[in-house]
Symmetry: none
Subunit: 408 residues, 2 copies
């Protein structure tokens, strides 16, 4: 497993082009004997695998099922055990906001509370899962009424059903530990909500503002039948994470259709390009920006969505859709092309899983002829062996002749 500190002094400049395609959750499992990658008709991928270096990569550790955050961080060479992206931050990124080191992000639920003279009791922690339209209306109303609390700008991002995100934006970079605040969700109905409690002095000021937000919102929500209270979870701030471009000496662009992936890559300092449409439009965007960057991350979402839905055939179709777009990528003749996933999402499991993820690397400096196809079982035979996700960036840089020799 590679460390960015090992790479930093070895970075060499070059003009080579590196392309990293992440087929989200691409790793699968057999249903009727074949996995999604084995079942899909993907002649271009199959041919590419035969002339590439293949292998399997472990996103976090053996047996560990990664979320999308750790899955991606690993591929980008950030040890996911060291760099944790908080749940509030991931939620906010998913809702499309760009976060800075001045921000605290929080996941919020509308809840139903009842009051007597002395206390508030949570009757429904999800406000009866109110419809998204209604939730958006209420969030819009709150945002109009609450724009600033003390020195914090208040940003509300509407989500699905009872969910939304709160971002407290301060005027300066926050101290370490400013986000160490307990969830206010009592976890069980019939209990009082918890007061936002700071774990240390660095979080006290933020906790005070969070409490003021809850109280202001409760007043404004008084008339609501169901969504008359707010529970806060996953207080988190952006870690002081190394910049991708600085660590690797690359000018990088992220191409994706979903906000979360654009947010995550912006967080590590990549330029981002939001594409409307599917894989073909993403490949078109890659072509159009190809002259202006060294490193391209292209994210394909629907492999994961179909896996999550247990839709085996649907996931095969997305792999086939990517296969049809692959010649467009190859026509650019990148010096290094890697295709992998951030984790496995087998339709059999209907969710992320712990299985190692197939990885394929094409460059001038590979053996090839060790894997006959881009499938879990063929990648197992491949010349890359089983590696850690954080090895991928080192391999891309090495194959792009962008690393100096270590020692004399």
């Amino acid at each position: 497993m590679n460390d960015q500190e090992l790479l930093r002094p070895l970075i060499a400049s070059n003009t080579t082009k590196l392309v990293l395609v992440v087929l989200d959750g691409v790793g699968g499992m057999p249903i009727n004997g074949v996995s999604e990658l084995e079942g899909a008709k993907a002649p271009n991928l199959t041919a590419l695998a035969a002339s590439s270096a293949c292998g399997l990569q472990v996103p976090v550790a053996c047996g560990i099922t990664p979320g999308s955050g750790p899955g991606h961080l690993g591929i980008f060479g950030y040890d996911p055990l060291r760099w944790e992206i908080g749940r509030g931050v991931l939620e906010a990124l998913g809702l499309g906001i760009h976060l800075t080191e001045n921000d605290i992000a929080v996941r919020c639920n509308y809840a139903t509370a009842v009051r007597d003279d002395t206390k508030i009791i949570i009757k429904d922690r999800r406000a009866g899962r109110i419809p998204t339209d209604r939730s958006r209306q209420i969030t819009g109303m709150l945002q109009e009424q609450i724009r600033q609390i003390d020195d914090a700008q208040v940003l509300l991002l509407p989500g699905m059903e009872h969910r939304f995100a709160l971002v407290l934006r301060f005027s300066a970079r926050l101290d370490q530990g400013a986000d160490a605040i307990e969830d206010t969700d009592p976890q069980k109905e019939g209990l009082e909500p918890v007061v936002p409690a700071p774990s240390g002095s660095a979080a006290r000021h933020v906790a005070d503002i969070a409490l003021k937000f809850v109280e202001k919102a409760a007043l404004l929500l008084k008339g609501q039948e169901r969504a008359n209270y707010i529970l806060l979870r996953g207080f988190s701030s952006v870690p002081a994470i190394p910049r991708f471009n600085e660590v690797y000496g690359l000018k990088s662009l992220a191409i994706a259709t979903y906000p979360m992936y654009l947010g995550l890559t912006k967080l590590i300092g990549m330029d981002t390009l939001k594409v409307a449409g599917g894989i073909a439009e993403e490949v078109q965007a890659l072509k159009e920006s190809y002259g202006r960057y060294d490193f391209f991350y292209v994210h394909v979402k629907k492999t994961d969505s179909n896996g999550e839905d247990g839709n085996f055939q649907g996931k095969c179709r997305v792999i086939e859709e990517f296969d049809a777009c692959l010649p467009g990528i190859l026509s650019l003749a990148p010096d290094v092309l890697v295709i992998t996933g951030d984790h496995s999402t087998p339709a059999l499991i209907k969710g992320h899983s712990w299985h190692p993820v197939p990885v394929l690397l094409k460059s001038k400096y590979v053996f090839g002829k060790t894997s006959a196809a881009f499938t879990e079982r063929e990648c197992l035979k491949g010349e890359l062996g089983t590696l850690h996700s954080t090895d991928i960036m080192s391999l891309m840089l090495a194959n792009g002749m962008r690393l100096k020799k270590f020692g004399a």
Copy 2:
């Protein structure tokens, strides 16, 4: 990845004989579909691979191209990320001197300087790459004139063209950090040379002596047309590195033709035997010393040299030359024989590379029949899998029945 501290308490004594052959830079890459190891006609190696345990070893870390120092340290079981051998030390070892913990070694360049009333300007950082003969003459003259500065003996080792090495030999072991001195090379022509600057107090005394050396030398070189100044780079001292024989309970001998490898092994406490000639002479030396040691390191240089030159056929011929000598090694019936490289040097790349290196281990305690030949692609299938270079010594000791059980 194994650690010497894990092995130390497990070392058992035995009379078994262990032979480690390092074919320098043996790993290659396909040109026209076959790599150097695949293209060489090596029937003895092929037969041996079929009855041995094979695998691939990663010298430093995935994607990292090792220098010869880290490549060898790993094979000898020293974590190359922990034990760094400085550039000055490697240069001096390569010029054939034995270094101790009392020494500071420095790489030196002759340079051309011009002086005005107030300053010295470097006009040529390499003194026009003066011929080696001339450089040797000048170095000999300097050595005659400068033998001692304060408490440091001054040793000058002539090198190629404008290069030589300086060793400052003190009367006692140096403090840690005594070598933390900046290069005096300004890196660009037209600038003043940098004064040797200590990074901490431990290096102050050495830096003073280095400055005196530069000044004394500049006086003596005043009449020279081109080589009239000296630039110092890569100040380094020998780390307080564990002794190979003590760590592993072995009596060891290094057999090599090149000074660097003899110097490096002497550094870790091996006995060394410089052989004039080629592989046949080295095997002959192995035979003659076989009764007197437990562990033998035999270094074959020319696989690397041919790889560096991009001479694919030449590298194949060296592999074939080794193959012809292999029966001589096997006739000794060592209990454990390992054949590997310190890194890959593909002729395709004309330099060291990051690719994992084939490794073969013969002993009574292997399965065999998993690899059909000693090639990169066949070793990938082998029973050793992909291991870290620092695992090789543990495997040799284990197969030599020289390690006790861990725990009860």
